[in-house]
């Protein structure tokens, strides 16, 4: 892309309103940051259903920005066709990649299941009851990337461990902290001493329930340890912002196309236990150096291919 174009711009299209969705919040953050760095303006188009996604994409194509970013699987259908019809336009898909990838479509995707597995390892080591729970927003295939590997990780270190997932569901699954809390209470009431949260706006409810029951919790996407001091063991991190921002800068620099997969190896996903700032992160796992050591070892095994984490989506 010739740098001569007068106004650079980035348009990010989300499949749902951003609202309480921390993943979408991160993707906004990443795009905004990258736009700033490359001197581009930034616009956010929030969609609410497949038709409005298409409408937003149409409008974005008409606006001829430097890059159009589409977040999630919801763009699989559209990005299979639109980039081919608009060869002059650069597209970036985050978190998935359309079939038959066009040359002007760049993809970044994540192996969040690897990070979830590491969190599971921590949980398996730290749980006394061997009963683990997850409170997730809805039962969608994608969400299983946080649930199944989490339990698998726990079982890898504690074969007796039992995992129970509960789904918030209801009228507003992504923002119902009261319901998420109630479900976390159900889990702690049944003896779970560690509950992982994957309920977006409901996460804080999960932490509150865990704190009240003297149990521990895991956060998701970003460091949520400070939100409930002493309760959150660690977080399943997914550095959407970093990966997205890198990809945007690459495209702006003319390096477009291809799929960038971010796993543990690439540092695109992880847990706070692996981070340098663990001590100041507020995460309770910092108090268990042996757990941190084990997590590091498992991470190395995964990176080296000695351990493979099953991807629930591949099944």
């Amino acid at each position: 892309q010739p740098a001569a174009s007068p106004g650079k711009s980035v348009i990010l299209i989300t499949p749902n309103p951003v609202g309480t969705n921390s993943f979408l919040q991160l993707s906004v953050k990443g795009a905004e940051a990258a736009a700033k760095e490359i001197g581009a303006s930034f616009k956010l188009y929030e969609s609410k259903d497949p038709t409005s996604i298409a409408q937003n994409l149409d409008a974005a194509v008409r606006a001829k920005p430097t890059v159009i970013v589409g977040v999630s699987f919801s763009f699989d259908d559209l990005f299979a066709t639109v980039p081919k019809q608009q060869p002059q336009q650069q597209f970036l898909q985050v978190d998935s990649c359309a079939k038959d990838q066009a040359a002007n479509l760049t993809c970044v995707s994540f192996k969040e299941h690897e990070a979830a597995y590491l969190a599971g390892v921590e949980a398996g080591l730290l749980s006394k009851s061997g009963k683990l729970g997850v409170v997730a927003a809805i039962d969608s295939p994608f969400v299983h990337r946080w649930i199944d590997p989490f339990f698998a990780g726990a079982k890898s270190v504690n074969p007796e461990a039992i995992g129970t997932p509960l789904y918030v569901g209801g009228n507003n699954p992504f923002s119902d902290p009261a319901r998420a809390k109630s479900q976390a209470q159900t889990l702690t009431g049944q003896g779970a001493d560690i509950v992982a949260a994957a309920a977006s706006g409901g996460n804080q409810g999960v932490f509150e329930a865990a704190a009240a029951a003297g149990a521990k919790a895991f956060g998701v996407d970003v460091n949520q340890c400070a939100q409930s001091a002493g309760t959150v063991i660690d977080n399943v991190l997914k550095h959407v912002d970093v990966a997205e921002s890198a990809a945007l800068k690459d495209i702006a620099a003319g390096k477009a196309g291809g799929v960038k997969v971010y796993g543990l190896k690439e540092g695109g996903v992880g847990v706070n236990a692996l981070a340098d700032d663990l001590a100041s992160s507020g995460c309770t796992v910092a108090a268990s150096p042996e757990v941190v050591a084990k997590v590091k070892q498992v991470r190395d095994d995964i990176v080296a291919g000695r351990v493979t984490v099953a991807d629930p989506l591949a099944g």
């Binding site: 951003v18 509960l166 789904y167 009228n171 507003n172 902290p177 109630s182 479900q183 804080q204 509150e208």
Partner: protein, 290 residues
């Protein structure tokens, strides 16, 4: 069992408060579908005032006050200007959704969820020295919600203004003909419902949890509307409907743990409520035909 009951009571309290408000409106002859938005507005203002003052109880007071004022948006158009209350409610629900999210960004500087260690939540009864089983872990607003149902039942049945309100709902023209000021009573009912929704929102955001999250009323106002439809003018029946619904929901969570799909758990409260209605109606019918 205690834990189950406690869970049902906690989950039900905000719905009960909203339903009680809706019931007063329905008794007075105004169909109030604005409960969802008012509950959300109550939750937001409760967190706002608790955050500003550092006192949960001032948060509750702020929510009651602000939501009563918010209810003017329904009462003035629907009662004084005779607009269709359902359309107005659709508008105010949308407004509440947008306004809370917007103000949240303006005031707290963040979107999505606002929580903070400094945010004062309501104390539990146990913390206040009242460690009764089941009620212990609840905020004081939970028993208050259930006491308010009793108070409303007494008030409607046994007081002058309660009788008048019932009369107005049954036949407004007849009420006018004996000199009752129908609009005044209806305003009072709608604003009272606003106050109750404020209380319900406060319980939701400072009692059930201690945070505000966009759209966190999450359909509780609609459940309250269903309860009002089922209860007619009988507060106890409304309470029963809310509890049945809450119990079915809590049961659904537990069954999910045993492998029941999320969708079935979601549907359970509605299906069970409908089945209960059918059974009661069929029994009543059999009784009369025998």
């Amino acid at each position: 069992m205690n834990a189950f009951l406690a869970a049902v009571l906690t989950a039900t309290a905000p719905v009960v408060l909203a339903a009680l408000g809706g019931l007063l409106c329905s008794v007075s002859g105004v169909f109030n579908m604005a409960l969802e938005g008012q509950l959300l507005w109550g939750a937001f203002t409760a967190v706002l005032f608790s955050h500003l003052t550092g006192s949960a109880w001032l948060g509750v007071a702020g929510a009651v006050l602000c939501t009563t004022v918010y209810a003017l948006l329904l009462s003035v158009p629907a009662v004084s200007l005779r607009a269709d209350p359902v359309v107005v409610a659709v508008g105010t629900n949308l407004l509440a959704l947008g306004l809370t999210a917007f103000l949240m960004r303006q005031i707290f500087g963040s979107g999505g969820t606002f929580s903070s260690p400094e945010l004062a939540g309501l104390p539990t009864l146990a913390a206040l020295g009242l460690d009764v089983p089941v009620l212990g872990p609840q905020s004081p607003l939970v028993p208050i919600a259930f006491l308010l149902v009793a108070a409303a039942a007494w008030w409607l049945g046994r007081t002058r203004s309660g009788l008048r309100l019932r009369g107005i709902g049954q036949h407004a023209e007849a009420a006018e003909a004996i000199g009752l000021r129908v609009p005044a009573y209806r305003h009072a009912a709608v604003l009272g419902a606003g106050a109750l929704c404020g209380l319900g929102g406060a319980q939701l955001a400072l009692g059930n949890v201690t945070l505000f999250s966009e759209g966190m009323s999450a359909g509780r106002g609609w459940v309250a509307v269903v309860a009002v439809m089922l209860a007619g003018a009988r507060p106890w029946l409304g309470l029963g409907a809310c509890l049945l619904f809450g119990a079915a929901e809590a049961l659904g969570f537990r069954l999910q743990g045993l492998g029941l799909p999320q969708q079935a758990a979601d549907a359970a409260p509605y299906v069970i409520t409908l089945l209960a209605l059918v059974v009661v109606a069929a029994a009543r019918r059999k009784e009369t035909t025998v």
